[in-house]
Amino acid sequence: MKKLSPRLKNIPRRATMNALLLVFILIYPLTTGLYQIDTMAKVIPLMIFALSADLLWGYTGIMSLGQAVPFGIGAYIAAISNNVSAGIPSYMRTYGITEVPAVFRPLTNPYLGTAFAILIPCLLSFMIGRLLLTGKVRGVFVSLITMALSNVLMLAVNNAQRFTGGSNGVNNVSRPSLFGHILSITENYYFVALIAALLFAVCAALTSTKFGKVLGAIRVNENRVAFIGYNVTSYKVFVYVFSSALAAIAGILYARTCGMVSPSLTGLRLSILVIIWIAVGGRGNLTGALFGCLLLNGMERIMAGIIGDAWEFVIGIILLLIVFCVPDGLIGTLLTARPGLKKKEAANG
């Protein structure tokens, strides 16, 4: 027992938490009505989104304030693809567009549409990553540049009304269809949950490899990693692109569940929110990101029912409490015994 590291000892505890969460998600639809199921089906993609940001921020220490960029682009491409595969959307018709514009033509195929919705954000992130994550730009500047990028995207999406529906966004997006059958609310819930579970498994596997350790090492001491022979930039770019892919998938599922997309999905607010979810849950252990997202989204809805629009005030207070009292986040604190505790245990044992 004495030789086990605190980390290793906590793996069962984390597994328990994940299992609890899984059970909760599986039985939730049995306990409640369609509206709640649909709302939860909207929160689950946000949990995937939280995973993507946790890989980037929690594991690698890159604090992007533009994580909504791949999320939003994925959501938009999926929504437009869904619209144009059914005909010409009404907002295009007002511009006298009578056939699908050439740039959108590949999107009329739903499978290609989904592929593009994942690939284009990845490609963009690859380019941004190559430009940004080279070691020349560090810390807060990465945050500021990504923040500016999400501003640019939001302005552009809002302005390109002819193609994106402008401020009204893209509406009438149907739920995902499998084998020609459009999923019902409950089916969609389980579909989204299944994808989330798979992606969680992928992330968990990825972070438990040596690769995951390198990411942690980069967060702690980027310089040292380079001097033991790792190309830090390519690691960072890989994580950035991978997390963008996750964010894009989250965006696609969100758009299809929600039934619409709007420019605010690309904006700064969502990027900040996801950071907050992770901070509340705890960084760098995936489970914390999931719980943080679930807790805050659930709380927001309950409190909006009780105290109306003042709930944001309460969120502010909670955030302050977290930063003050449990800086490792709720789940993070439950999971990790700090070295101080370890020493005490050693002394006792």
Binding site: G139, F141, I145, A148, V152, I275, I276, A279, E312, V323
Partner: protein, 285 residues
């Protein structure tokens, strides 16, 4: 009518506004290395304070000074209660200041029931230069901006307080060893930064509607300006606000405002990428 002189004049006015809203951030971000996401909310607080003081019957100039003082006190309070625990911890500061910004916005909504109120223009009417007419208040804003930069420069480079703040920036431990009370100096400089934001809020209040969420529009702008200017340099920030505003204004004269904004933003991103020390900073390590 020649369009360029008008655009340049408008750009100068916009630059003054930008400079005013950014200069507090030079103190807080540049000199204390704190990323203050509540910066916009201090601007909002300043605007509301100025409005309140005007309603009480104070002349506008005194209201502006009052707004500076009150937001400075508010900022110092925030520093004492929250910020001081998180120095040199970027992520915690981001979260804590975001929490502060949310709380401030909500308090403003409760206090002012979200109604938009307008501070009357202290001087109205146009002043003409040659054949061109510009709002008289624009010149007031420009003058205040110049004054504020001079004031802050003198404060930072000619007074003991300024020397202390700069000493702490360069080497906190050494400054402590030299007997500088770093805690008090931190509180004062954070208060100063917030007070400058409040002052900016008071000055722009007559130009627009005052409402609880008004601050968020200025956050990105002031970050960009400060970073392009070289983070801790007042003169650099002044030049950066000039550059950004003039290019937005001049570009906006020839194309859509939206495209002008997008182009300038992309320009800022490139500057951040290739000159992270800013366009105008000389000292590089």
């Amino acid at each position: 009518m020649a369009i360029l002189p008008i655009q340049l004049m408008n750009g100068l006015f916009a630059a003054s506004v930008l400079l005013l809203v950014s200069i507090g951030m030079v103190v807080i971000f540049g000199n204390m290395n704190v990323v203050n996401l509540a910066h916009g909310e201090f601007i909002m607080a300043g605007a509301y304070t100025a409005w309140g003081l005007c309603e009480l019957g104070l002349p506008f100039s005194l209201s502006v000074i009052g707004a500076f003082a009150l937001t400075a006190i508010l900022g110092a309070l925030c520093e004492r209660l929250v910020i001081k625990r998180f120095y040199a911890r970027l992520e915690e500061t981001l979260l804590a200041t975001y929490a502060i910004s949310v709380i401030m916005t909500q308090i403003a909504r409760l206090l002012f029931s979200s109604m938009k109120k307008l501070v009357p223009l202290p001087v109205s009417g146009g002043l003409s230069i040659g054949s061109l007419v510009f709002p008289a208040y624009n010149f007031v804003v420009i003058a205040v901006a110049v004054f504020v930069v001079l004031f802050v420069c003198v404060l930072f480079y000619k007074t003991g307080l300024g020397k202390k703040i700069r000493a702490i920036r360069q080497n906190r431990q050494m400054a402590q060893c030299l007997g500088i009370n770093t805690a008090v100096t931190d509180t004062i400089s954070f208060g100063l930064g917030c007070g400058l934001a409040g002052l900016a809020g008071a000055i722009i209040a007559p130009l627009k509607i005052v409402y609880p969420a008004m601050g968020s529009a200025y956050l990105m702008d002031s970050f960009s300006t400060v970073v392009v200017g070289g983070v801790d340099s007042f003169v650099g920030t002044a030049m950066a606000s000039g550059l950004i505003s003039e290019s937005t204004s001049v570009l906006g004269g020839f194309m859509s405002e939206i495209y002008a904004q997008i182009i300038v933003l992309i320009g800022i991103i490139l500057v951040l990428r290739f000159r992270p020390n800013g366009l105008f900073s000389k000292e590089k390590r």
